[in-house]
Subunit: 470 residues, 2 copies
Amino acid sequence: MDQLTLLNDRIISRVNVNLNEFDFDTEPFVNNTLDYEKMLKFYAFYGITSQHPIYFQFRHSNLAGSYFLGKCLVSRSAIYKSDIRGDELKRMGDNIRCAKNIPLVEDEMITIKDSLLYKTLVHSNSHNLENPEEFSIRNTISAHYTNIHGSTLEGCFLGPFATIDLMNLHSCIVGEFSYVQVGEPFHRKIDPGTIWIRNPNFEFKYQFEKSILDNFVGVNSFHQPRGSIYDFVKEREQDYENLFDVMNIEPIVSAPTSAVNRYAVVKGKTSIGENVLVSQRAFLENAIMGDGSNAQENTYIINSVLGGLNITAHGGKIIHARMGRETFVGFNSFLNGKPDAVIEIGQGCIVMPHTIIDPRVSIKIPDKHLVWGFISSEEDMAANTISLDDLAEVRDSLRIGSMTFSGKGSIFIEVFKKRINNILLSNGARFYKGEKRGHAQDGQNISFNIIQPYQTGKHMGLYPSIRIEP
Amino acid sequence: MDQLTLLNDRIISRVNVNLNEFDFDTEPFVNNTLDYEKMLKFYAFYGITSQHPIYFQFRHSNLAGSYFLGKCLVSRSAIYKSDIRGDELKRMGDNIRCAKNIPLVEDEMITIKDSLLYKTLVHSNSHNLENPEEFSIRNTISAHYTNIHGSTLEGCFLGPFATIDLMNLHSCIVGEFSYVQVGEPFHRKIDPGTIWIRNPNFEFKYQFEKSILDNFVGVNSFHQPRGSIYDFVKEREQDYENLFDVMNIEPIVSAPTSAVNRYAVVKGKTSIGENVLVSQRAFLENAIMGDGSNAQENTYIINSVLGGLNITAHGGKIIHARMGRETFVGFNSFLNGKPDAVIEIGQGCIVMPHTIIDPRVSIKIPDKHLVWGFISSEEDMAANTISLDDLAEVRDSLRIGSMTFSGKGSIFIEVFKKRINNILLSNGARFYKGEKRGHAQDGQNISFNIIQPYQTGKHMGLYPSIRIEP
């Protein structure tokens, strides 16, 4: 285990250097998270498909239980039960959006060095214009169920259930259950439960009350997660482990235009429509997936109906709910309906990332509404929703409950709708007669190669150096 | 499938060039053997252990269902359900046995190019002194259950159940169920059922009668195997496939000094003693494996007792038999006892490779005997066995039944015993208090990495280029 211990220690010291000013020590997190026995036992896997350029290089790393797709280099890192999904990486010749169009000189690659990613999702492509060929994560630790979406990182610590979206972070700490999309923070500390989008055109901000958030997601003194959302996912862990035990799994019956990843859990009376994408580590139980809907990594759709063209972004959880057509549910949202407290959300709604709906009685959100924050009853709706029509009228600023907005509401809606449409397109939700292919079509017929570490000797716990090319 | 078809065609044309003089066309064999659907479906795997230097490189190849251990390069080849076992390769610094000792300048590597190996075992290390760092197989086709043992090949066709042992073959055809160990044959055709050992000190030869051999192993006009030995192995294929469906198999309980490969079938009341090696694709059913015994690749030990320090060489089959201590069973031997026709073989016997014992009533072979050829009754024993003491007396030549021997019997026995002892040593059969480790000890704690081919696109059926280093 010498090499694994060395790896461990190097990651701690690297990240600590960056976070020195915050007096933040990553050692308690790392030492209480990494379980060497599981790092020896769990296999990693990478996908081979003819639809994406492939290149994998793994060296001096442990990759226990992780999934890799696309082009990826991992060096001196521990990637534990994480999904490194490179099927949206930019390709050679693609133009980056800059004052002047600059074509990429080679395919973009995810590179992860001297980092620990724990049950983390890495997806999309780097929105860092300075280095468009490299989606880079260095000297960084991310905790349980973090989403690293289109963001480059150097020297950061991301708390459990945090999401960083389309950013470039340097020496930052992002608190648990925070969602941030705020450009290029440099030596910043983001409080837990901060939902914050800022760009030249508008700013959206919501802050969870600590007393409420603590019930759902909190951390102990070792930065380990606790709370009911963590309990919810932990209770379902065994279902995933079963998937890993079987080599050739009976494929889930779905339309020929849909893809259900073999590492997704599908239980109960679940039906899959056309153009549906169910990603690895999605969890469906008694779920009706309408045409063009999707369930991304770490999503849970239980006893619920998705009307069609629904996006359930990474980590979204939809329980005892009926979702109208073209309704979007953002990252890590927790729609915790119950048999006697059903959540009904109308058509064309936008549920902001990291929204928590935990109703005591059934609630209904009308069509075309923006939803955010925390809703436990009908009364909370006024302070946590607005109709998109009303929002479009906002010219300057708006404050509702703990939410503040500044900028033009119409631009905010436009940007969001454009993004939703792009997600639907890239997921293949609008595939028709061979046109508009996306992940739902390309995610079929993936071969998975399985890799494991040395079980004994000086490299014990590390994976051999592996290089895969087309 | 374009690339796979191309691969197919290239192998046919390459081998045909070498075998042109024999008017031998490999096309019917290849086209009737390769099943593209299975080549897409079956996964290959390679072993990672701290006990052997590892290096794997695979390119432009299909590896369906094959197993790799040690250092190996495969290029432009189809390796179907084969075992390429490089745990006895020579290492850098080892001296090759020549007039003058020459140390190897690098670790030996198995290299397989432009070849089709079908359910073949490749094992040991090259005994070709000219190129000691490369255990090379080029432009070669080997058929079902062939053993390539310590032999280099260029431009050859090996029929089903053939064994080539410690040789260097160039442009040869070896008939089905032939065992040859005859130095460096060049443009030779070996008839089916030829058992032939020749070296500067002695020569042993036995020829199966065609009418008898045909019942056990024959080939049809496409060189595909038939006969009762083939039926026997075919009937048990499903048991292996079950092993491939499960990822983490419950380890077979055995002594801490023994290794039971997770790709071995173990059924019924089987017990595993100390220092026992059970290799991948061995099949044990109601087998008592005495201390220091082994079951190598493609062996079957059913309703039988091995007294201890028994070697069952690759492909040996022992059914309803009781084997005395230190008794050796050679490659592909078929000891086909029945409940009412038990085979008992005494201590210290040598059952020559490719021996068939198919008794109608119980038979008993005394201690310290050499056994060869075909035995179906007590009467056959006189023509197919000799006591080692009597053989040791032979100074010049001997003919018994269809067997001819020339040379000194004592040297023949000495060479054989030395080899048996080396096999026991390398298998760890004599491990004691940390000394004399071998495969039975080193074969524990292997990690298996699983690799699969492209399922679609122009590379469909081919594996990506993969390189693994420590």
